[in-house]
């Protein structure tokens, strides 16, 4: 008997197959998870982790085939088990289009597999227009390090989403959803929804969810699939789905450090999880017991995320291995930049403030925030020349002007014409539209359901209401 099956009274088991839908869970891990009789299957479908493009452009980071593969696995398991399946932050950024994209994939799978299911779609995309009244009323406030929000910033976002808490998901399941596909949702709310709606205490529920939000990252072998959470009235147990994987007190407690600014106090909609006094105990070689975390109720706030356009980029990548140049690479780079900026102004007639030029010498100090390092010189430098402008055409025009300079710029003016290494022809690589995150704010809500919108689908043509 695995330790998590020791009787602890009321228990709610959450099967977390992976950290994000589309990253895959090995079949043997999933099969073992099913045998542990979960009360629900819950997985996150997105994040801001990969940068502002996905929200700004409203595109998914995970591919459609990978997403469909994982969703098929989970829908089939859900059907066999007869338990709810929750997928949060559909389509990476959780826009309305991301939810619809996931719903379309779910419908295809249902048709292909002959499944029936009642599906709740929960949307949380917001328009700048809808947020103007709360902004004027003062209910939108900044999170550090942001300043106060203004209407112009709201209007400059291509997409704005609010992060759903667990309540709209619980409502959908309470009303008979077999599958909940939600827009942007906190990773933890997706995992904590069923335990919380069944009345399990908030401290263990949120702490368990926080620990499992990245799937197997809290285990010793993060590529062997996700974990099973067993939440009870006093704490929770966590074990990997895969038999050849382990959770240890170190792997589980260390996960609270991961990509959290504060490892002890974690803000969720309506509560702050305080894990300061949590204890971590090995129940056996692969299962850990966690107790002692508490959740303090706060005023209910919904975090807002927004991204807007930030110009277009074109890149040129060139490389230098000449030891004579590399011995004085800092001077060479400064002279190249000076020459380029002068030429862009005088030859192209482009004003200094109409573009952004960056020379990033990879292998030298492209990543180092400090001044250039002392010798020895690098063996090779890969030089990324990055141009940002209001249009792709202008960015590329400037990059094309840079091309011959980057190819031939001498260290000393009297040097016979040198040439450097270009890996591509054409040398210019158009990177397309760029986006930036514009919001780091929360909106205070009287009711957690206020900004959630619901739509229902009955999958399975023959018995549209059979699973309701």
């Amino acid at each position: 008997m695995v330790a998590s099956q020791v009787s602890r009274g009321r228990v709610c088991r959450v099967l977390v197959p992976s950290g994000v839908l589309g990253s895959g869970c090995p079949e043997e891990a999933m099969a073992r998870g099913e045998r542990l009789s979960p009360d629900c299957i819950a997985v996150d479908g997105g994040s801001t982790d990969s940068g502002p493009y996905y929200l700004g452009a409203g595109r998914s980071k995970m591919t459609r085939p990978a997403t469909k593969r994982d969703l098929r696995q989970l829908m089939l398991a859900r059907d066999r088990l007869g338990v709810p399946l929750l997928v949060g932050s559909c389509g990476t950024s959780g826009t309305d289009a991301g939810v619809d994209w996931m719903a379309e994939i779910a419908a295809e799978i249902a048709a292909e597999e002959g499944l029936t299911a009642r599906v709740a779609l929960v949307y949380s995309e917001l328009s700048a227009e809808a947020l103007r009244a709360p902004l004027a009323a003062g209910t939108i406030t900044p999170l550090a390090p942001a300043g106060p929000l203004d209407a112009a910033t709201l209007g400059s976002c291509d997409h704005i989403v609010g992060l759903l808490g667990y309540e709209p998901l619980a409502k959908a399941i309470g009303e008979g959803a077999d599958i909940v596909l939600s827009g942007r949702t906190t990773d933890t709310a997706v995992l904590a929804a069923v335990p919380l709606m069944r009345g399990l205490p908030a401290g263990p529920s949120w702490h368990a969810a926080k620990t499992a939000e990245c799937g197997g990252l809290c285990t010793t072998h993060s590529r062997r699939g996700g974990v099973m959470l067993s939440i009870d009235d006093h704490g929770f147990d966590i074990e990997p789905l895969h038999i050849d994987n382990q959770c240890t007190p170190f792997s589980v407690s260390a996960h609270l450090l991961y990509e959290n600014a504060d490892p002890f106090r974690l803000k969720e909609p309506g509560v702050t999880l305080d894990a300061t006094s949590a204890t971590y105990r090995a129940l056996d070689e692969r299962c850990v017991r966690v107790e002692g975390s508490v959740a303090e109720p706060n005023g209910y706030t919904m975090k807002l995320e927004g991204a807007g356009p930030a110009g277009f980029r074109t890149m040129v990548f060139s490389a230098i291995a000449d030891p004579r140049v590399l011995a004085r690479i800092g001077i060479w780079l400064a002279n190249v930049e000076l020459h380029l900026r002068g030429g862009i102004r005088e030859v192209l007639g482009v004003a200094d403030d109409a573009y952004r030029l960056e020379l990033r010498p990879y292998g030298w100090n492209a990543l180092d925030p400090r001044p250039a390092p002392a010798p020895p010189p690098p063996l090779e430098v890969g030089l990324m020349t990055l141009v940002t402008a209001d249009t792709q055409e202008l960015a590329t025009e400037i990059a094309k002007y840079c091309n011959p300079v980057l190819l031939h710029f001498p260290l000393d003016p009297n040097d016979p014409l040198p040439s450097f290494a270009f890996p591509f022809s054409p040398a210019e690589v158009e990177l397309g539209a760029q986006y930036e995150f514009r919001l780091n704010h929360v909106i205070a809500l009287d009711d957690p359901l206020t900004l959630a919108r619901f739509r229902w689908l009955n999958l399975g043509a023959e018995a549209p209401d059979a699973a309701a």
């Binding site: 801001t48 982790d49 990969s50 940068g51 502002p52 493009y53 999170l143 550090a144 390090p145 942001a146 170190f250 407690s253 260390a254 450090l257 991961y258 990509e259 959290n260 600014a261 504060d262 490892p263 002890f264 971590y280 930030a310 952004r356 960056e358 990033r360 492209a366 990543l367 180092d368 925030p369 400090r370 940002t388 760029q434 986006y435 930036e436 995150f437 780091n440």
Partner: protein, 102 residues
Amino acid sequence: MPRLDEIADYVRSKNAGPFWVTIDIFCGDADRFDRLRETAALSPEAIGAIYGVDPGKVLRFDAPLINVIKISFPRPIAQGGAGDVDSHAGQMFVALLSAEIG
């Protein structure tokens, strides 16, 4: 004086949302944890000077249970913003490795 990477077992960094970066220093044992938690090289002022951030905004957390020192601060450039060279902040810790531990 020894460098941070000559004392700590493992150091890593990661974005914590689009606007923050967090550095985890896995000290290895209680002795090294105690030594590193006292050093001026990991003070808010020292961190601020390396990364160009206001020391008043540098947060510090000590996790004695796992001998980890955690340092979090607002990113000088938001994730994906103009001039950002490390979207996930995954290599930002490297500038700290050579800090001399007194």
